[in-house]
Amino acid sequence: MRTPVRRRVGNTVMVTLAWLAVGVALFPLLDLALLVTRHALPALRWHVLTTVTQGLSGGVANAIAGSLLLVGLAAAMAIPVGVLGGTYVAERRGGAFVRGVRLAADVLAGVPSIAVGYFGYIALVQALGWGFSALAGSLALALLMLPYVVRTTDYAVSAVSDDLREASLALGADHTTTVRRVVLRAALPGILTGVMLGTGVAVGETAPLIYTASWSSFMPTAHLTHSPVAYLTYVVWTYIDQPFASAHALAYAAAFLLMVAVLALNVAARWAIRQRSSGGGGA
């Protein structure tokens, strides 16, 4: 018996609508990638990468260095703490404390970044007296990275098979050695994925930095406090609003660099997770 025409037409309509939705969803991404690339490529000259901003022209070297410094410091704080904490939560397996940490990580991941930025301003810039600084900015970023690292480590370590743990224990290894040499090694691809995604979040943030790192037209210094720092997202936000071609060129250049960084981190994250599925780990 053939399906009645009305039902077949209905099916075709819905399938078409679903594909249309994909097109609608991808359009902004493709359009903004084209827009940024088209304007950034003529603007990206060597001196843009090597000189600092002067007024509304010059280069973005200070912003590149500042972004690297802020994200680097944030990663140095969030990754060890997050991996250690996530491993503990996964190995401990249950109980009120573990549930509390997991819930806190989920909640913290949902806290608006501007709230974290304002906390940074009140607590770090003012109360602790660090001033606008790399330390205040990177701590705010670390706070936003931490829940991703904790939760992805938690998932990756939880996914490691108990057979592997028991095999290690049966060979006479103690629990510490088992976790360090066997479990973490198997969970490494998953952890790396989380680390790279967390770093991607930190790279693209603006709101938590405006009132913690502020902005500076100079290269970052060795002073981690009382010395404001530049970062790429600030260039995009403020320079696109200016009525000068030189300012727009810098905004597009900064946006392009951010897009490339995010793309690279996403591809790397995808590559890392492949390592797991291609048999590298025991998970």
């Binding site: 399906t3 209905g10 099916n11 399938v15 679903a18 939705a21 994909v22 609608v24 969803a25 991808l26 902004p28 991404l29 359009d31 903004l32 940024v36 060890p80 703490v81 250690l84 503990y88 939560v89 401990r92 940490v101 819930l103 989920d106 913290l108 991941a109 949902g110 806290v111 608006p112 501007i114 709230a115 304002y118 301003y121 009140i122 607590a123 706070l143 829940p147 991703y148 904790v150 998932y155 103690d174 629990h175 510490t176 976790v179 995604l197 991607g200 790279v203 943030e205 709101a207 997202t233 936000w237 696109i240 609003d241 597009y252 946006a255 897009m259 995010v262 996403n266 994250a269 997770i273």
Partner: protein
């Protein structure tokens, strides 16, 4: 099986794990403490007044209420910002939910193999695009399009509905903010939804086909119902993200300080108000302006936390995909 882990790293790791809830509570506590003067001084005016004014920052006699002083003429009524946040998020959901669910269905049921992987990668990449880059696209592409084409067209055709009446003004406003937000939150709805659909066993689809149902009928009657919690989870996460989004909205919303009364009204959300007002708040010698912004931050944080707390109720799977997609891509 529950085993207590043993080993020297235990104490350090436990401390590291405890740091996440500790930092969350410290953040909330610091914001609450600094918001306290404003909470006392404002009273109910915070949620009943339509005016947000820092008052006379350069002179005049400070107004003292309940032991806290604020500049003369200062009023901190958050209604326009609360309305801005609610309306931009609601309009963004109206746009993003149907498209996001369509993408979820397409990724789960139609796009297979390499093409599906590539499509999935690009959808998830959207979640990783920095919000200022979305703001730049909105400012350069979307706002002029609304000003010249979409806005006048909409107002012309649907002008009999008060909410869609012109003037379109600069193109910056509620509609521009809603479209940018919708584009940003789409991948959450799509990826969490796709995961929910894929968790429905393949046999269910075979049953539908065996009954002679079309693919759409199978989806609607057999696959969608058990996937509803996951689909709802994606929408809630998207709402949470929309409520707290700051920069992209700030760059295209036109920063109005009235409750938006049409789709084209300039508006300011709670999150973008904090960025906008903090510079002038610094100059308030009484400190009440910064306290009032802290109150705004606390209110925003409480709202988003409550929204996000609904997600774990829908199951560990939703929460897991959410963590990954929030940061840029799916777990699998």
């Amino acid at each position: 099986m529950r085993r207590r882990p043993r080993g020297g790293w235990l104490a350090v790791a436990a401390l590291a794990a405890a740091l996440t809830p500790t930092l969350l509570l410290v953040t909330l506590a610091v914001l609450c403490v600094s918001a306290w003067p404003a909470l006392v001084w404002n009273g109910l005016a915070f949620v009943s007044s339509h005016v947000w004014s820092l008052g006379n920052l350069y002179g005049g006699t400070p107004v003292v209420r309940h032991g806290f002083a604020a500049p003369a003429g200062a009023v901190y009524g958050a209604i326009p910002y609360i309305a801005g946040t609610a309306l931009t998020s609601a309009c963004a959901l109206v746009l993003a939910v149907p498209v996001g669910l369509g993408v979820a269905v397409c990724l789960a049921e139609r796009a297979r193999g390499v093409a599906g992987n590539v499509l999935g990668f690009f959808i998830e990449l959207i979640a990783g695009v920095p919000s200022v880059v979305f703001g730049l696209w909105g400012f350069i592409v979307l706002v002029p399009w609304i000003e010249r084409r979409a806005g006048p067209g909409l107002a012309h055709v649907f002008g009999f509905i008060p909410f869609l009446r012109g003037p379109v003004l600069s193109g910056q406003g509620l509609l521009a903010a809603a479209i940018v937000l919708a584009a940003m939150i789409l991948p959450l709805i799509a990826a969490v939804g796709r995961d929910a659909l894929l968790r429905v066993p393949r046999e269910v689809r075979d049953q539908g086909r065996a009954l002679g149902l079309t693919d759409w009928e199978t989806l609607r009657d057999l696959v969608l119902p058990p996937a509803v919690p996951g689909l709802v989870g994606g929408v809630i996460l998207a709402l949470g993200r929309a409520l707290g989004e700051t920069m992209a909205v700030l760059m295209v919303s036109g920063t109005g300080n009235l409750v938006p009364h049409t789709l084209f009204s300039p508006t300011t959300t709670m999150a973008s108000a904090i960025v906008l007002d903090l510079d002038s708040a610094f100059t308030d010698a009484t400190g009440m302006a910064t306290a009032a912004l802290a109150e705004l931050a606390v209110a925003l944080m409480v709202i988003t936390v409550l929204v996000n707390l609904a997600v774990p109720l829908l199951g560990e799977g939703v929460s897991r995909v959410a963590t990954m997609v929030n940061a840029g891509r799916d777990a699998r």
